[in-house]
Amino acid sequence: MAFCTGCSLLCDDIEVDFEGAKVKRTLNLCRKGRGHYDSLLVDRLAPAVDGSLVDIDEALSSAAEVLEGREKILLFGWGNSTLAAQKAGIELAKKLGSVIDDPSSYSQGLITEKVLKGELPTCTFDDVRNFADVSIFWGDDPSSSHPRHLSRFSYYPRGEKRQRGYEEDREAIVIDVRKSPTAQIAADGFFKISPGGDADFIEALMAALGGKIPKVEDKKRMLNLGTKLRKAKFGAIFTGLGLAHSLGGDLDAFFSLVGKLNELTRFSVIPTLGDYNTRGFNQTLFDEAGHVNSVSFKDGVDHGPEFGIAKYLDSCDAVMVVGSDPTAVLPAPLAKKLAGMPMVAVGTHRTLTTDGADVTVPIGVAGLEVGGTALRTDGVKVEFDAVVDSDYLPDVEVIERIMEAV
C-alpha cells in the first residue's frame, strides 16, 4: 500500500507498480493523484545557483548565503512539507528572527485558526463517514480538488450509523456561484448564489432557521433547507476558497451561522485545504505561536496581517519559498515584487517561482520518494514511507542543513 500526497485527503489505500521510477499501474488512485504520481519523472527541480547547475552541497551553502545577514526574511510555503520539515522551518524562523507564513494567509487561514482554537466545532472524516447525515459544501468543489472526498467520507460510503446508502441516509447541499462538478451530483441540493452573495444567503438561512420568512426569491426552498438543517442529526460543513473570498475575509456572519446551527443541533466544520499538509503547518505554527500564519519571530512572537505575504513583500529583504509556487498564484503586482527579491526555492518540481530563484534546492516527493508524517485536512495524523528508490533528500534534511549553515 502507498499513500498519495496529491491533496490533503492523504489517501492510504493506493496500490502502485513501478517500472524503475516510472509508474506502471495504479489502483484506487484518482485522476489527480495519478497526475501527482506521474509527475515523478517530469520537470524535476535541480540544484542550481543563478541558473547554473551545482551539486546539492553547494546549493545548500549558497542558500544559506542568500539568507545570511538579512534583517527581514520571509519563509513562505510549507503546505507541501512534512511535519518534521515544518517544525524545522519554524525553528529556522526563530533562529533568523524572520517571518513565517503560508498560503492560508490569503485563503482559509481564518477558518482553520477558529477550528484549532476550538471556536468552531469540528470532527474527523471518519466521524463524517460514520455519522453525518447532512454534508454542506460551501464555495467548495472537492469533486475537482479532492476527488475522493465524497466517495471516501462525505456522501457515498456506508458507515456505522449510515448503513443504507446515500439516497436514504445522507443529504448533500452545495452552495456555490458555479454549477461545479460537485453541484452537478448534488442535483436538488444545489443552491446557486451570485458572486459575493454568501452574506445574503447566510442572512436568509438564519431567518429560516429562526422560523422567520427569509427575504429571498424562493422562500419555500430556503424554509425547507432550514428545516432540513434543523433536523440533521450530525451535520458537516466543508468550506472552500469560495466562501473565504466571497466574504472578503470577514467571516463573522458565517461563524454566527455555525453557532446558530449548533444551538439547534450538531454541525462540524472541516476546511477543504489545498496542499497535502496545509493543516499540518497551521497546527504546528499554532502550537508554537498561537496563530496559523503571518507570524514574526523577530522579537518573541508577533502576529498580524502585516506579516502575511500580501503585505510583507513590501518590507522584506529576502525570501525562502518551500514547496509552493506563489509566483503563479499571487496577483501580478505582488508576483513582480517577489521576482525582485533575493530568493531561495526549495521544492520537488520546476515552477514559476523556482525559475525566478537565485538558488534552488531539490527535495524528494513525500509519500513516494521520501517518508514522513502529515495532517490530513481534518487534522488526523498520517504517516507514510517511501515506495520508490530515489537520491533526493527529504525536505526536513534540507531545512536542517540550511539552519546549520546560517
Binding site: T26, L27, C30, S143, P147, P157, P181, Q184
Partner: protein, 155 residues
C-alpha cells in the same frame, strides 16, 4: 440511451422477414440487444436506396457495438472520468460484494467488486454481476447519477 424507435426509423420498415423475424420492430429490439447484427438485415446492406439509412444506423449503433461497451450497455468515457470512485462506492453490487472495501469508501478488498479505479479512471470488471446484466436486469443507475463529469452512460 438509444431507443428502439430510433433504430426502427433507420430500418427498411417493410417487414420482409428475411432476417427471420416477423417485423422490423422486432429486429430493432434484437439489434439493440445485440442478438442480431446489422448485416442480418440483407436489404438494408445490399440495396443502394437504403444507403443513407444504413450509414445512420451504423453511426447510431457504433457506441453500442464498440469494444468499450460491455454486455450491460455501459459505456465509460474515460477521458471525462475523475477517478473519484463515487460510482465504485455507490454501486449496490459493490456494497453487497465488498462490504469491507468499496462499501465503506475504500478500494476493493474482496475481488468481487464490479467497478474499480485503475490508472486514475474507473473500470468495469465481473460485468455479469451488474444489475443491468442478463434476463433479470433492473435499470439501476447508481453509477450514472453519482458521476460528477457525466463519464458513464448506458446505451
Amino acid at each position: 440511451m438509444v431507443s428502439v424507435m430510433e433504430v426502427y426509423q433507420l430500418l427498411p420498415k417493410t417487414n420482409c422477414k428475411k432476417c427471420g423475424l416477423p417485423t422490423c420492430m422486432a429486429f430493432a429490439v434484437e439489434l439493440l440487444g445485440k442478438r442480431k447484427a446489422i448485416e442480418d438485415c440483407t436489404p438494408l446492406v445490399e440495396e443502394p436506396k437504403y444507403e443513407t439509412k444504413l450509414a445512420g444506423l451504423r453511426e447510431l449503433m457504433a457506441p453500442i457495438l464498440s469494444a468499450d461497451s460491455t454486455e450491460t450497455g455501459m459505456v465509460i468515457h474515460t477521458e471525462k472520468c475523475y477517478g473519484c470512485g463515487n460510482c465504485v462506492v455507490a454501486c449496490p453490487v459493490n456494497v453487497a460484494n465488498d462490504p469491507k472495501g468499496t462499501a465503506i469508501g475504500r478500494g476493493p478488498v474482496s475481488g468481487k467488486a464490479i467497478l474499480m479505479v485503475e490508472d486514475g479512471v474507473v473500470k468495469c470488471v465481473n460485468v455479469d454481476q451488474c444489475r443491468r446484466f442478463g434476463d433479470e436486469k433492473v435499470l439501476c443507475n447508481a453509477c450514472i447519477v453519482t458521476c460528477p463529469s457525466k463519464a458513464i452512460e448506458f446505451i
